[in-house]
C-alpha cells in the first residue's frame, strides 16, 4: 500500500517534471539514476518483482544523470551473471570486471545518497535500489565462494590444467582464497587423523574424496540466440543420442552438461 502511494506521488511528480524540462523520460521502464536498468523484458520484471516483493516494477526519477550507458549495462549483465551462477551446478567463469564496475557504481551512488537530505522520498527509493543491487552483488559472490569451498580440489585442478589464453574461472582473489582453503583443510585433516594412521594410508587424494559438481543436474533455461543441432547424450545405456534445436525465447529443462558451453558463451541463460 505504502509503495503504491509512493509510486503515485512519484508519477505526479514526474508529470510536473516533464512539463518543465525537455529531458528524456524513462518512466515507462525501470529506471535508475537517470538510466534504464534492466531494460526489461517482461520476464526480467517478473523475476525482479518476485525477488524483491514488488508486484510492479517501481518508477523513479533521476537524482543525478551522471551515469552512462556502460554502467547500466553493467547492472543488467550482473543480474544475468548472478542468475547463471546461482542455477548452474559448477563454478562459472569469473566476471571480475562486471563485479568491479558494479562495486564502483554502488560506492558512487552511496556517495550521492550521503549528500541528500534525510526524509527525502526520492532518496529513500534510491537507497532501496542500492540495497537491492548490493544484495545481487553479495549473493553472486557468495554463491561463488560457496562453490569454491564445496569443490575446492576440482576448482583448483581445473585452474591448474587450464591452457594459456583460456579465461580463468577464478579471479586472483578467489584463487588465493581457494588455495588457502585447500592448504588449511588439508593440514587439519593431516594433523588430526592422517598423521596417526598406518604409513600406507596417510596419503589421500582430495580430488577423489571431495564430491564433484554434478554436471548431470537439470537446469531451466531460456534461449537468447537460436541454436541448432545440439547433441544430447544418452543418460542411460538404453537411450540413444539425438539432436535438438533450441528456438529463440523458448524455455527448456535440460541436463546442465548438454548446454554448459552455451551458458558460457551467453547464448542461453539459466532461469
Amino acid at each position: 500500500m505504502w509503495v503504491k502511494r509512493q509510486e503515485r506521488m512519484l508519477l505526479e511528480h514526474a508529470d510536473t517534471a516533464r512539463k518543465h524540462t525537455q529531458q528524456p523520460h524513462y518512466y515507462d521502464c525501470y529506471c535508475l539514476n537517470g538510466i534504464q536498468f534492466l531494460k526489461s523484458t517482461p520476464h526480467h520484471q517478473q523475476q525482479y518483482g518476485r525477488l524483491f516483493g514488488c508486484a510492479t516494477t517501481p518508477r523513479i526519477l533521476p537524482i543525478s544523470a551522471s551515469y552512462n550507458l556502460g554502467h547500466l549495462q553493467g547492472f543488467a549483465v550482473s543480474f544475468q551473471a548472478w542468475m547463471n551462477e546461482k542455477f548452474s551446478p559448477e563454478l562459472l567463469e569469473s566476471k571480475s570486471e562486471i563485479v568491479e564496475c558494479v562495486i564502483e557504481q554502488l560506492e558512487h551512488m552511496e556517495e550521492n545518497l550521503k549528500r541528500t537530505k534525510g526524509g527525502d522520498l526520492k532518496a529513500s527509493i534510491h537507497r532501496m535500489e542500492v540495497e537491492r543491487i548490493r544484495y545481487v552483488l553479495s549473493s553472486y559472490l557468495r554463491s561463488r565462494i560457496r562453490k569454491i569451498e564445496k569443490y575446492f580440489p576440482h576448482v583448483l585442478e581445473k585452474e591448474k590444467t587450464r591452457t594459456e589464453g583460456e579465461p580463468s574461472i577464478l579471479s586472483p582473489e578467489e584463487f588465493a582464497f581457494a588455495k588457502e582453503y585447500m592448504a588449511n583443510t588439508e593440514a587439519h585433516l593431516k594433523n588430526v587423523a592422517l598423521k596417526h594412521m598406518p604409513p600406507n594410508l596417510q596419503k589421500v587424494d582430495l580430488l577423489k574424496i571431495v564430491p564433484e559438481p554434478n554436471l548431470d543436474a537439470f537446469v531451466f533455461l531460456r534461449v537468447k540466440e537460436k541454436q541448432e543441432n545440439i547433441l544430447v547424450e544418452p543418460e542411460t545405456d538404453e537411450q540413444s543420442e539425438y539432436v535438438i534445436d533450441l528456438d529463440k525465447d523458448s524455455q527448456h529443462l535440460i541436463r546442465y552438461k548438454t548446454i554448459a558451453p552455451l551458458v558460457a558463451s551467453g547464448a542461453v541463460k539459466l532461469i
Binding site: L51, S124, Y135, E180, N184, M197
Partner: protein, 195 residues
C-alpha cells in the same frame, strides 16, 4: 566388530540436527586410530606369513585392509563434516563465536577456524575499494527499507546513519533501517517483528 567405533562417529553427527555442532569426540577418534593400528600390525605379520606360503591368509588380509580403508573414510568424513558446520557458524555468528560453541571445538578446529576467518576476511577486504564488502550481510533479498524490530536485550545506545542515537532497551520496539540492524538480529539482540 571392526569399524563399529567409526560408524558410531558418523551416527553421532547424523543425529545432531542440521547445523548443530556436537562436542568433539576425541576419545572416539583415538579409539578408531588404535583399532587401525592394531589391524595394520596384524596385517603386517600375516603378510609375512602369506609370503612364506600360507596363501589361506590372503582373504583375511584383504578383509582387514577394507576395514582400514573404511575406518579412514569414516574418520575423514567425521572431521570434514565438522569443518563444514564450523564454516557455517562463521557465516552465522560473525568472526567471534559464542563461548557455548567454542567449547564444542577441538584445539585443531579452533586453529582451522581462525585460518578460515583470516582467508575469508582477506578475500572480502579485497572486494572493491576501501573497506571491501561484507558478504555475510544481505543474506535475504531486501523487501523494504525499514523494518520493525523488538529489542530482546538491553544493548545501550545505537547510532543510525543520520547521526541520531536511539536507546535500545529490552522490550522496546523500533522502526529501523534494515541494513543497520541485520547484524544485531543475527546476534539475537533484536528480533524482526513480522505482522
Amino acid at each position: 566388530m571392526f569399524c563399529e567405533k567409526a560408524t558410531e562417529l558418523i551416527r553421532e553427527l547424523h543425529r545432531a540436527s542440521d547445523g548443530q555442532l556436537p562436542s568433539y569426540n576425541e576419545d572416539g577418534i583415538r579409539q578408531v586410530l588404535e583399532e587401525m593400528k592394531a589391524l595394520y600390525e596384524q596385517n603386517q605379520s600375516d603378510v609375512n606369513e602369506a609370503k612364506s606360503g600360507h596363501s589361506e591368509l590372503i582373504p583375511t588380509i584383504k578383509f582387514r585392509h577394507c576395514s582400514l580403508l573404511r575406518n579412514r573414510r569414516c574418520v575423514l568424513a567425521y572431521l570434514y563434516d565438522r569443518l563444514l558446520r564450523i564454516r557455517a557458524l562463521r557465516w552465522e555468528y560473525g568472526s567471534v563465536l559464542p563461548n557455548a560453541v567454542r567449547f564444542q571445538m577441538s584445539a585443531d578446529e579452533v586453529l582451522w577456524f581462525n585460518q578460515y576467518k583470516k582467508s575469508l576476511a582477506t578475500y572480502m577486504r579485497s572486494l572493491g575499494g576501501g573497506d571491501g564488502l561484507d558478504l555475510t550481510q544481505d543474506i535475504k533479498p531486501p523487501k523494504s527499507l525499514y523494518i520493525e524490530v523488538r529489542c530482546l536485550k538491553d544493548y545501550g545506545e545505537f547510532e543510525i546513519d543520520d547521526g541520531t542515537t536511539i536507546l535500545l532497551k529490552k522490550n522496546s520496539q523500533h522502526f529501523l533501517p534494515r541494513w543497520k540492524c541485520e547484524q544485531l538480529i543475527r546476534q539475537g539482540i533484536l528480533e524482526h517483528v513480522l505482522s
